[in-house]
């Protein structure tokens, strides 16, 4: 298991390749990466991600441990950035490796659902004229009921 919280960009392709290469006894590898959407005509200049330095790493490790335990994963990876990101930049990624596809998919969705609502990150959108904190969505909280 690897959990990384960093300000710098990460190399999605290289991380995905390294993750998939490490455990060839696993038949199924799922990755997810989240992007600051770069929408035509959008007035978003930057996405600022604040986090709780003392707590973030521990919270992410606890979520990844839980995923590994519940789905008997061969491995799991979580990378999450903080700081100021511009449209088109990747915010985070997760990866899961399991013997079969169902477990790899479910564990990746579990990781994402918990990252969304239980990891101490907060997003602020900086537009041309204004800035505002992204509100948590009821549907993201509701997604946790599945697990």
């Amino acid at each position: 298991m690897r959990v990384v919280v960093q300000e710098a960009p990460f190399d999605f392709g290289a991380e995905a390749e390294a993750f998939a290469s490490a455990r060839t006894d696993m038949g199924a590898v799922v990755t997810f990466t989240g992007v600051v959407r770069d929408l035509a005509g959008d007035r978003l200049d930057a996405m600022e991600i604040e986090h709780y330095p003392g707590m973030t790493q521990k919270a992410l490790e606890a979520i990844a441990d839980e995923a590994i335990r519940r789905w008997s994963l061969g491995d799991a990876l979580v990378i999450h950035r903080f700081g100021r990101l511009t449209p088109g930049e990747r915010i985070m990624m997760v990866a899961t490796a399991a013997p079969h596809r169902k477990d790899a998919f479910e564990a990746a969705e579990f990781l994402m659902d918990y990252l969304k609502s239980r990891a101490p990150f907060w997003k602020k959108e900086h537009g041309t004229d204004s800035a505002g904190w992204v509100a948590a969505k009821d549907e993201d909280e509701a997604a946790l009921d599945r697990w």
Partner: protein
Amino acid sequence: MDVLYFAWVRERIGLPRERVETDAATVSDLVTELSAREDRYAAAFADLSALRVAVDQELTDFDAPLAGAREVAFFPPMTGG
């Protein structure tokens, strides 16, 4: 103990962290104490349903006891991922 604020709670109160001397038994008691200080605290804590709390870096609820706690953090619902 150290009290930390994040996101709009930090902005509303106007600082990221402060040292607080308190005998508050629970998080709720601490919120009542802080809210009584100044309007900016009262404004930040006006709607507890819009807030989350961590004691010693573990998510908990407003009934949680503070005995032995070193660090309490207040913040809005998280928006990671």
